[in-house]
């Protein structure tokens, strides 16, 4: 299942958001990716995340997994610090061309 589909079906509002009340009683995944608004640079690294300017890209890595299944995972992760001092991890889903933020990475 793609992150966007999981976001729609299971969480929507985050782990403890409004959708959490709807899904009460059923197990849920921890640290589900959340859709993020990212403005990329020409090299694909994020310049702005959720309308906040990126100060430093601390680290960058790729996760390519489950390529042998019908739901392959191909993500480009960025560990960044925003100008506000907040630290976030975002990734670009290379199949869907969508950006997500994720905790617990």
């Amino acid at each position: 299942m793609k992150p966007a589909e999981r976001g729609r079906v299971e969480t929507g509002g985050g782990e403890f958001g409004p959708a959490a009340a709807v899904g009460r009683g059923a197990p849920r995944r921890v640290n589900e990716p959340q859709p993020a608004l990212v403005e990329p640079r020409f090299d694909g690294s994020p310049a702005q995340v959720n309308r906040q300017v990126v100060a430093i890209v601390r680290e960058e890595w790729r996760v390519v997994d489950r390529w042998w299944t019908e739901e392959p995972v191909s993500r480009r992760y960025f560990d960044i610090v925003l100008e506000s001092g907040q630290q976030v991890v975002v990734f670009n889903d290379e199949d869907q061309r969508l950006w997500f933020s994720q905790r617990g990475v």
Partner: protein
């Protein structure tokens, strides 16, 4: 017989103790922040210019632009009330305080001591103190005693004999009844404005229209309601107070002060090793006024650390910086010991506390509010596949 002592507008009188000059000016008790903007009791001068207790704040200020709003002082009111109750107890009256400004006691036990009901009541009024303008009412029934006290003049008593109770109650207004405002309005719309008119109605019709509360009010209006006086057990007088050199708003400092106060009050020899059932924390606020919170502990305990954990979060509710903080042990248990196991399994206490904490979270949030994190694939490179949130209902 049952006696009732009534002090109308007690909270306002208590708040004005520090500013007696205001008692002669148009003044009213201000509403608490976050509550409906309705004024509390008012002074006689305010009443003379048309301001009534329970009026909307805007309306009251429009009626009397010079109206002074007096900030509520619950700690001062509680302390003043406690002093009154203790003075009465010292004079031999076994009192049942209902709310600040209203209490009951049985005269039977003290009539012979003071030489009759009237002397006994005069003694009680003197114990309360003339500065409070107390009124006393005596009757065979609680409600009749309350009604008698409410019609008595300040410093006077009104005795109602049992055979004249119904006749005495008949012309009095419905506002005396402990009924919800909507019920009183409903009765007024039906043309019932006096207790006598309510008493005349058939009991079955009242029960059908107004339910159990209405039936009780109907019995009271007929002077037939029962109900004994349940005298309180005088509380323990154990408190500690800390005055700050300057107002403190930092929660961390307040928590430390609370810890010191708890250590001090628990070390008092007059506690006699008894565990604490109920504890109160109060503060005097920087802009005048006071704040107080009472906490009944789940089980009697005497450990400062656990009481601090239970009481600490209350400090976050302080509306303003405090100039003084006090801790009072309101109720102590009778026993001095607690049966423990000789050997407790390792982690058993922690497990019990965790279970209890979870039970409290569940009871406040409803089912499905507590989860366990279960690792399902901690080695996975995909973060969201490593663990699951599983509802924990046990």
């Amino acid at each position: 017989m049952i006696a009732c002592i009534l002090i109308p507008g007690f909270e306002l009188r208590a708040a004005l103790r520090r500013r007696p000059r205001l008692a002669l000016e148009p003044a009213a008790l201000a509403p608490l922040p976050g509550t409906l903007p309705l004024i509390g009791p008012v002074t006689a001068t305010a009443e003379n210019v048309g301001v009534r207790p329970g009026m909307r704040l805007g309306e009251a200020l429009a009626t009397c632009p010079s109206l002074v709003l007096v900030e509520q002082d619950p700690a001062e009111a509680e302390q003043a009330w406690e002093e009154i109750v203790r003075r009465l107890e010292d004079d031999g009256f076994a009192v049942e305080p209902v709310e600040p400004g209203c209490l009951y006691f049985e005269t039977r036990g003290v009539e012979r001591l003071y030489g009759g009901v009237e002397r006994c009541l005069k003694r009680a009024l003197a114990a309360v103190g003339s500065a409070w303008d107390p009124r006393a009412g005596v009757a065979e029934r609680r409600f009749a005693a309350l009604a008698a006290a409410s019609v008595a003049r300040p410093g006077q008593l009104c005795v109602v004999s049992d055979e004249r109770t119904r006749q005495f109650l008949a012309p009095l207004p419905l506002s005396l009844l402990p009924l919800a405002e909507e019920r009183k309005e409903e009765l007024e719309e039906l043309g019932v404005r006096r207790l006598g008119e309510l008493a005349e109605l058939p009991g079955a019709a009242v029960a059908e229209r107004l339910g159990p509360d209405g039936t009780r009010a109907w019995s009271q209006a007929r002077g037939e309601e029962g109900g004994r006086v349940r005298a309180r057990r005088p509380p323990a007088e154990l408190s500690e107070r800390l005055e700050f050199p300057e107002a403190v708003g930092s929660e961390l400092t307040l928590r430390r002060a609370l810890g010191v106060l708890l250590d001090r009050v628990l070390a008092r020899p007059d506690r006699g090793g008894r565990a604490i059932r109920k504890v109160a924390v109060s503060a005097r606020l920087v802009g005048g006024g006071s704040w107080r919170r009472t906490l009944t502990l789940r089980e009697p305990m005497g450990e400062a650390r656990r009481i601090r954990v239970a009481l600490g979060p209350k400090l976050a509710e302080l509306p303003a910086p405090a100039t003084a903080l006090a801790v009072e042990l309101v109720e102590l248990s009778e026993s001095t010991g607690r049966q423990l196991e000789l050997l407790q399994p390792e982690g058993a206490e922690l497990h019990e506390r965790l279970k209890e904490g979870l039970r409290q979270v569940r009871s406040s949030t409803g089912g499905g509010g507590v989860f366990s994190i279960v690792e399902v694939a901690p080695w996975s490179r995909i973060p969201e596949q490593r663990a699951l949130l599983v509802p924990r209902d046990e």
